[in-house]
Amino acid sequence: AQSVTQPDIHITVSEGASLELRCNYSYGATPYLFWYVQSPGQGLQLLLKYFSGDTLVQGIKGFEAEFKRSQSSFNLRKPSVHWSDAAEYFCAVGVGGMRFGAGTRLTVKP
């Protein structure tokens, strides 16, 4: 069965610093991978998704993620974090049913 792991429960970065949130998946074939963001008091919003093709995908709000089959990873990155990026980030894998990771809470220091 597919599963997804987010190793970091909480990450703190300074505003303007770069960000990388880790995501590892378990699935027998190439999965469909997603990153969602949940801001405080808000619903879930899709940042980006990977189905096939170019392994580096661009999303909204300046985020990108890279699919690495050899590492079973789909890490989320942003070159320069803004204070408004503070939120909970969820990685998800979906084939015949979406499964989410436990989430990584991002705190941004001024």
């Binding site: 879930l44 899709l46 979906g94 084939v95 015949g96 049913g97 989410f100 990771g101 989430g103």
Partner: protein, 117 residues
């Protein structure tokens, strides 16, 4: 409506009572999911409906939990004999699934905050 609608938005109940949570997916969306998000926790998969196929119930935590989807549209999640540990936000999501190869973007409802006293 334009989005996924869930009702009620908040539900307070006493331990041992039954509750029903409702989800109206986006019209035309064939896939419907229920998730649970407890305080400080991630999204816990509960159940997945896809068209006329048998639902994937593998995430339901106990036999007190059940869900149905009538007419391929509205879904109801029922929790019988509620316990305090059932307190959480219950999220419904729907999507358009093109085929068996994968799932498209999920559209989430605002959730139902369930509090069991």
């Amino acid at each position: 409506g334009a989005g996924v609608s869930q009702s009620p938005s908040n539900k307070v109940t006493e331990k041992g009572k039954d509750v029903e949570l409702r989800c109206d997916p986006i019209s035309g969306h064939t896939a419907l999911y229920w998730y649970r998000q407890s305080l400080g926790q991630g999204l816990e998969f509960l159940i997945y409906f896809q068209g006329n196929s048998a639902p994937d119930k593998s995430g339901l935590p106990s036999d007190r939990f059940s869900a149905e989807r009538t007419g391929g549209s509205v879904s109801t999640l029922t929790i019988q004999r509620t316990q305090q540990e059932d307190s959480a936000v219950y999220l419904c999501a729907s999507s358009v699934t093109r085929d068996r190869e994968g799932d498209e973007k999920l559209f989430f409802g605002s959730g139902t905050q369930l509090s069991v006293l």
